[in-house]
Symmetry: C2
Subunit: 201 residues, 2 copies
DNA sequence: CCGTTAACGGAACTACAGTCCCATTAAGGA
DNA sequence: TCCTTAATGGGACTGTAGTTCCGTTAACGG
């Protein structure tokens, strides 16, 4: 019994995911109804229910699709330059109407659906691993301590930006991006992000 | 036409919110069904639909209730001590079964419901304002630059903790709390969180 | 203590999300 | 090209979330 990923099946998936992206950008996660999604994708309602079965699953699939086209890390020669590029990329992504809506939805769906949460973790693990070499290189250049935890530094850049996205307590712009990068660099240089560092007294 | 906030009405509200908290802690946001909620609260289904009307509204009301009993800021004499106390409080809150589930739900609901998003912003604005004096005092003591943005520093403490809560990419424990506090202090001392600071070259 | 009426709650009703069945279509292999 | 069967999709079915109606209960004022 062979699998059939080609031809029609692929077209259906592409059509559904495109429609889902449109609907998320237009009206957000709560309005993503599978019946309406099927209509807009010009696909049978049964097909959508059979292949995905829930809104969370559609959103998770959409994330997989997007993860495939993630941008490569920067290499500007300094840690600050690299992390600033990363931070600005994150801000551009989160403020983009389609991608921003998608990320909000993903984060929302992941809080109640374990499969979506797993997809989300994979996504961030991959993304963080892609950018971690920026820190490794900075260690090689002697910019930061040798036992600096690369992943921790990358997370430190994104964290304030996601915090703003979710709480809406401050602007999410390039200034915020630059500040996030700068804070991460200063902390890393001070040795805050060394492996196993916690209560440093 | 007088309002009637007392007696039975208050009992109904308390009963519904308690049941909602239970259900969130047990099975999460997605499983919060208004019909079942009414049954568990021993309240008429009609009442729940009339007074709240949606899951997001119940969750928002629950947050208001909780905001009323938020803890006062610490005053340990040093910025690091104060921020560490704040960070540990945030971690305790987010890892508590009831409160953690509630916050996840709030954040999820806020991504698609504007009223919930507004309640969330109010909550964080209040909370951040409560802790901002820690930074103001640190300025007075000369620990950090005079034009340091107090709210920005407080947000910087919480951000990595919320990032971990949502992405699940790293542990959310006391070590993370201490590191978040330390990073915020180091960055603040270096002048990263000065008002209007963005691209500091 | 009594009357007014805001708020509650049971029950019937409605609409629609999600499922099931089965005929139709088209991938992929020989 | 033909055959097998994975995958699709229309349509009927069903369970249940959410609404409406209206009688009942109990706050609050006098």
């Amino acid at each position: 019994m062979p699998e059939r990923p080609g031809g029609r099946t692929a077209r259906v998936r592409a059509s559904v995911l495109r429609a889902a992206g449109d609907m998320l950008a237009e009206r957000g996660f709560a309005a993503l109804d599978l019946g309406e999604l099927a209509t807009r994708a010009e696909v049978g309602r049964t097909t959508v229910y059979r292949r995905w079965g829930s809104v969370a699953a559609v959103v998770a699939d959409l994330l997989l699709e997007m993860a495939a086209e993630s941008l490569p890390r920067a290499d500007t020669g300094t840690l600050l330059g690299d992390l600033r590029a990363n931070a600005r990329l994150v801000v551009r992504t989160l403020t983009d109407p389609r991608q921003g809506a998608l990320f909000r939805s993903m984060l929302a769906a992941a809080t109640s659906d374990e499969a979506t949460a797993a997809a989300l973790r994979r996504f961030y693990t991959t993304r963080i691993a892609e950018w971690a070499p920026c820190v490794t290189d900075a260690v090689a250049r002697g910019e930061v301590p040798a036992d600096t935890d690369p992943e921790e530094v990358i997370r430190a850049v994104s964290a304030p930006l996601y915090y703003r996205l979710l709480t809406g307590t401050a602007e999410l712009d390039e200034t915020a991006a630059d500040r996030a990068a700068e804070a991460a660099v200063v902390a890393a240089k001070a040795g805050v992000h060394r492996r196993g560092s916690g209560s440093p007294e």
